[in-house]
């Protein structure tokens, strides 16, 4: 494991220069309305460096990887495996073979849930009837539904850590929720709705004390803050390429230590085998065991370029930039009549997803008026329906940020919300 780096001073991002790398940000909506893109939590935009990396690969080295002996296949395999090394290093993983590429983070979480329920999983990992799976009430559906389904298939019981009035996990009942029966704790690092950052290391240590496997949804943290996955103390993590300036069609599954080696494959076919006869097959070592079929090759190359891009900016600087935007958004929105922030107060355990409610107005109607002004936010339940039910909300309006987001864009959101309020007032 690399030695911990000395903390570096936070430097402000040169956002004007950064924006020059993102061609889509110059786009006009309706030909005249500038794009104010505040939906990076759903999918981020891609810099030229990422787009060019994919184009360069496709125009120079494209071939199927890990099969064939020709030179182009070797070049493509080198690019693909080099991307794995790069992406592993970005999240502090010293052994790239602990990382498998999937279609997206959802697939990575499903692979884990399916493998842990498989009858061939080792006894200490296998989830079966009578066991408990612990999740949280703030999970994205991607880190909830696969565990519900695992419980349904195995007869295990799904339990969850509830949300408190302060928009954080209510850990007061943790002792009765996290017990010797708990086989899996699956939780998000950062809520995609609330912005809440969970005390992952603390919860992972408690889960390990009862022998549970800890699975982390890192989709909303890896793009926005420095992450050292092994240091978090979790056993597995998933994140997606397209939320971190990279391509769609690629997700990352990481297993700590020997976890992936101990788990059976769930998707089978080409590239994941050791030997095959008509009767039976033995499987390759990870990560190949979890990469059946032709993998997302150019996407891996693009994602590696995204890691280069983010690392050159410095993830501490990215986090500081987005925290400042979050502060500006919350302070501006809170001044508006009827607007309520759905998320914790600004402090160290909060990051940049700013969701809010406008009294008496459905988020779809709010988003429609913002969209008319070019302000692109997400509305609805953001794939976290139980979270919204918990707070009695049909949905929320959500602004999320990235490296290219400017304070002026946050101001456009706040001004836009003022206009939303005025717009609907005329129908009162």
């Amino acid at each position: 494991m690399p030695a911990p780096q000395a903390p570096t001073a936070v430097a402000p991002l040169d956002v004007a220069a950064i924006r020059g790398d993102f061609p889509i940000l110059d786009r006009m909506l309706d030909g005249t309305t500038p794009l104010v893109y505040l939906d990076s939590g759903a999918t981020s935009q891609r810099p030229r460096q990422v787009i060019d990396a994919e184009v360069d690969f496709l125009t120079r080295d494209n071939a199927a990887v890990k099969r064939g002996a020709h030179r182009l296949a070797e070049a493509a395999t080198d690019a693909y495996e080099g991307a794995r090394d790069r992406i592993a290093a970005f999240v502090g993983v010293a052994r790239p073979e602990q990382i498998a590429f999937t279609k997206n983070a959802t697939e990575a979480l499903n692979v884990l849930a399916l493998a842990l329920g498989d009858p061939t999983a080792p006894e200490h990992l296998r989830v079966r009837e009578g066991d408990e799976i612990l999740v949280t009430e703030m999970e994205h559906h991607a880190n909830l539904v696969p565990w519900q389904e695992l419980a349904r298939r195995t007869g295990a019981t799904l339990r969850w850590i509830p949300l408190g009035e302060d928009f954080r996990l209510d850990l007061s009942g943790l002792e009765s929720l996290l017990t010797e029966r708990t086989k899996v704790l699956a939780l998000t690092h950062q809520s995609n709705v609330l912005g809440t950052v969970n005390p992952v290391a603390e919860l992972a240590a408690k889960a390990h004390a009862v022998g549970a496997v800890v699975v982390l949804d890192a989709c909303q943290s890896v793009p926005h803050m420095p992450i050292d996955l092994p240091a978090l103390g979790v056993d597995a993590a998933a994140f997606s390429g397209h939320k971190m300036l990279g391509p769609t069609g690629i997700g990352v599954l990481w297993g700590a230590g020997e976890l992936l080696e101990q788990l059976p494959p769930v998707l089978t076919g080409g590239s994941m085998i050791e030997t095959v006869t008509m009767e039976r097959t033995t499987f390759a070592e990870p990560p190949a065991r979890f990469e059946a079929g032709t993998p997302p090759i150019s996407q891996a190359v693009g994602l590696a370029a995204a890691c280069d891009y983010l690392e050159a900016l410095g993830m501490e600087n990215v986090a500081a930039h987005e925290l400042e935007l979050t502060r500006r958004a919350i302070e501006g929105l809170e001044q508006l009549p009827g607007v309520r922030i759905i998320g914790p107060a600004l402090d160290a355990e909060r990051a940049g997803a700013v969701s809010f409610d406008l009294a008496g107005r459905h988020p779809h109607d709010v988003g429609q008026v913002l969209d008319a002004r070019g302000v692109e936010v997400r509305v609805g339940h953001h794939c976290a329906w139980p979270l919204h039910r918990r707070y009695g909300l049909a949905g929320t309006t959500r602004a999320t940020f990235s490296v290219y987001t400017t304070p002026a864009e946050v101001d456009a959101l706040v001004e836009g919300m003022g206009a939303v309020i005025d717009f609907f007032a005329r129908f009162e």
């Binding site: 909506l29 309706d30 309305t33 459905h362 988020p363 779809h364 109607d365 429609q368 008026v369 969209d371 008319a372 509305v379 609805g380 339940h381 329906w385 919204h388 049909a394 949905g395 717009f423 129908f427």
Partner: protein, 155 residues
């Protein structure tokens, strides 16, 4: 982008004071429809009576949560269909479905649609079409569940 074709006084009148809202007895069928992308929900009951070959909608009652468009649609739809037979409303629902899928290229016929014509502006906004049609789809499902002729009602 012009929002005035989407949001009108009529839409907000129905949003604020929805007609026929609330769940009532008697009813032959109750359905629950959701719009999974935005979480809008409607529980809708239908009460049929009269000629089994062409039953009349005696009552439509509902509980709807959602955006202004979806709530106004439930209100205008119920007001359009209550008291009419399934054969009478068939051209109404067919027209509603057609204009809502026309991406703003077709005018709504106010003689057929009544106040629901105010919702046709949403057809220019593809992600709002489903808001408007959710209550119509719920009506269609409820009529079938209540044993009405399948070709009789709604989109």
């Amino acid at each position: 982008m012009d929002l005035t074709s989407l949001y009108t006084d009529i839409v907000f009148e129905h949003d604020k004071r929805p007609l026929h809202a609330g769940l009532r007895e008697p009813y032959e069928a109750e359905v629950h429809h959701v719009n999974p992308t935005c979480g809008d929900e409607i529980t809708l009951r239908v009460h049929l009576a009269g000629d089994p070959e062409d039953p009349r909608i005696e009552d439509v009652s509902y509980d709807a949560t959602g955006c202004a468009m979806s709530r106004a649609s439930a209100s205008t739809m119920s007001d359009l269909v209550i008291g009419r037979t399934l054969r009478e409303i068939e051209p109404v629902s067919a027209h509603m479905d057609a204009v809502m899928h026309a991406r703003g290229r077709e005018e709504g016929d106010e003689a057929l649609l009544g106040d629901a014509v105010a919702l046709v502006g949403a057809s220019k906004f593809p992600n709002r079409v489903k808001c408007v049609l959710m209550s119509w789809k719920a009506l269609h499902a409820a009529v079938i569940e209540a044993g009405g002729p399948v070709d009789g009602a709604a989109a």
